[in-house]
């Protein structure tokens, strides 16, 4: 019997995978209540660091060509498709979904990336703005940085 190498779950900030600066973790159990992993428990400082990293990266990302951004989003779809099994397994472990349901969720995630990859260089021609009388010739600007809070089933704030 081959002993599996278990994965360590850390934060993802600024392109790297750090542990929480607080050193804290919390236990995540599978849907049956069995231990799955000790996951990094982000602190306020970690959140701050994440926002700072996102802000620092924003002008570069907005400055990339729409084509380039689309290519990167499509690449994410490619990689997600390639690592499907890993995600299916983790979804099933956490939620108890069936194989079919879990695969559907992964399908939807991948297809969402493909959908958005195709939008990057089309937004302007659909939602752009030009005043033919006196100008100005406006291009769309990105709004600020949304912070995404993901609700858990148990309503615990991350």
């Amino acid at each position: 019997m081959r002993l599996e190498v278990k994965k360590t779950y850390k934060l993802f900030i600024g392109g790297k995978f750090p542990r929480s600066e607080s050193g804290r973790v919390y236990k995540v159990n599978d849907h049956k209540g069995e231990f799955l992993a000790n996951v990094a428990k982000a602190s306020r400082k970690d959140s701050r660091d994440a926002v700072v990293a996102a802000r620092a990266a924003q002008s570069g990302w907005a400055g990339a060509t729409a084509y380039n951004r689309g290519q990167i989003l499509y690449r994410i779809a490619e990689m997600l498709e390639g690592r499907r099994e890993q995600f299916v397994e983790e979804i099933r472990a956490l939620t108890g979904k069936t194989d079919k349901q879990a695969n559907l969720e992964v399908d939807q995630a991948i297809d969402s990336f493909v959908w958005h990859a195709g939008w990057t260089d089309k937004i302007e021609s659909v939602a752009g703005n030009m005043n033919p009388v006196a100008g100005p010739f406006l291009t769309s600007q990105p709004t600020s940085q949304p912070a995404l809070l993901q609700p858990l089933r148990r309503k615990r704030r991350l």
Binding site: W115, G118, D121, K122
Partner: protein, 476 residues
């Protein structure tokens, strides 16, 4: 002396078959009624190509119709998009091979196929892949319909790129296609057919029928074709328009041009020179939107021409497979003859001909980058599209005169404006009768930008949201 040693790209990046049939219903047919296709830089034989007959055309249209009714129209947009993304990816993977193939069959420099043609081909498929599931946003309301089967005829100057401009939007919009590449440049289209197979594109969605003008005419004429898309000469475009008049077939035509590249006295002169060179010598001048008329403000004519001639002396003409070559071969003997004839006419009518000293290879079809100065609007070389590396030079005194001369043409495809004055750019862009106006640049293409002309340069657009509309019902 800093001489550039030969820097050849490797020919064996591509392996052509001895002979090719047509690509119909997902398979290659047996080669028949073959003719030879050559490398115009060396006149060497490359492969045997089939000359499409009425039967071949009919089989292709039937396959396209079948695929449309049974498969393609039944797929959701997201899935169509994924096929196009696959094709785009494979084009990127095989980019170097395709660049070499295009250079060998067309005669244009590897530097151009590698850095311009093939990247644009890939980007066109990426761009339109993203539209396939967003047709609701095209501007025609929800759920717009495709035409059905599209007959597409592409020219020899940008063989694979023109194929991409045609096939990507057609498929994204839900049509199936039969495409006929130009007789002298069929090879990259046939490689593209292989790519369709690698992408597992459903049989019959894309069909390629090779051949001559008669093959194209039969395709356009076929009763079961809903849409015709043609890029080529205005003369043939007119014939096609006549052919389909009175039928229900919709058409887009991308025809000829005789663009004015307008240089004002306050232009950034050194960059304007680059723009002029790109405008007329890129792709050996085989470009419909080429800046083939230089309109220079009289006060800076001498300075500009001096800079231009000095710049032309550094253009490297020669083996297209050499990475340092700037200008390659003329695509065919026929085209070379036409260019020579028109230039002779230009001199006869009073123009002064100048070209740098260009050593030319013994074999192949070659024409040195050439200026004809002292041209007036009434001259043949000011009016007729030469489609070669020949620049007709005229002067103007005021902006109004520049506009009048620029617009004085049956064509209206493109124009260039060179000035440091922003307000003048905006004003003139408005006044110029050209579908594409470039300011302080030239020959910039992008799949998100609609390209097309006014007047005898045709109608319809390729690229952008507007390019998509060409392939949907209700947009005309």
């Amino acid at each position: 002396m800093f001489e550039y040693a030969p820097a050849p790209e490797s020919k064996d990046l591509v392996k052509f078959q001895d002979s090719y049939g047509h690509f119909i219903g997902g398979k290659f047919t047996k080669p028949s009624a073959t003719y030879q296709t050559i490398n115009p830089a060396t006149e060497q034989y490359l492969a045997a190509i089939s000359h499409g007959t009425a039967k071949d055309v009919d089989a292709a249209v039937k396959a396209a119709r079948n695929a449309y009714e049974k498969t393609w129209s039944k797929l959701d947009g997201a899935t169509r998009g994924k096929y196009l993304y696959r094709i785009a990816r494979i084009i990127q993977e095989r980019a170097r091979e395709l660049a070499v193939a295009e250079t060998l069959n067309n005669g244009k420099p590897i530097k151009e196929t590698r850095d311009v043609d093939i990247p644009l081909v890939a980007s066109w498929f990426f761009y339109y892949a993203g539209w396939a599931d967003k047709l609701d946003y095209a501007g025609l309301g929800p759920n717009p319909a495709a035409h059905g089967v599209a007959a597409q005829i592409v020219p020899w100057n940008f063989p694979l790129m023109m194929l991409a401009w045609k096939i990507a939007p057609a498929l994204a919009a839900g049509n199936t296609v039969v495409l006929k590449p130009a007789e002298t440049t069929p090879l990259t289209a046939l490689l593209f057919a292989e790519i369709c197979q690698q992408a597992e594109l459903p049989d019959g969605v894309v069909n390629i029928v090779t051949g001559f003008g008669d093959t194209g005419a039969m395709l356009v004429d076929h009763k079961d074709v809903n849409k015709v898309a043609f890029t080529g000469s205005t003369d043939v475009g007119r014939l096609i328009a006549k052919q389909i008049a009175g039928t229900n077939k919709k058409a887009t035509l991308e025809l000829g041009g005789k663009a004015a590249n307008i240089v004002f006295e306050d232009a950034a002169l050194d960059q304007a020179v680059e723009g002029i060179v790109t405008g007329i010598f890129f792709n050996q001048g085989h470009v419909c939107c080429a800046g083939s008329r230089l309109l220079v403000q009289e006060s800076v004519q001498d300075v500009l021409l001096k800079k231009l001639k000095r710049r032309m002396e550094t253009i490297r003409l020669g083996d297209p497979m050499d990475k340092n070559t700037d200008i390659g071969a003329i695509n065919s003997k026929a085209q070379l003859t036409k260019i020579e004839k028109l230039v002779k006419q230009g001199v006869k009518e009073g123009g002064e001909r100048w070209a740098p000293n260009c050593p030319m290879p013994k074999n192949g079809f070659w024409f040195a980058p050439t200026l004809i100065t002292g041209v007036s609007p009434a001259n043949t070389v000011a009016r007729e599209e030469i489609f070669g590396p020949v620049l007709s030079v005229m002067t103007f005194r005021t902006p109004a005169e520049a506009v009048a001369k620029a617009n004085n043409s049956p064509y209206g495809l493109s124009a260039g404006i060179w000035t440091e004055k922003g307000s003048r750019i905006l004003k003139l862009a408005d006044q110029l009768n050209a579908g594409v106006v470039w300011a302080n640049t030239y020959n910039q293409f992008d799949p998100a930008s609609p390209f097309g002309g006014f007047k005898e340069s045709g109608y319809g657009r390729e690229g952008g949201r507007h390019g998509l509309l060409s392939y949907l019902k209700g947009a005309n």
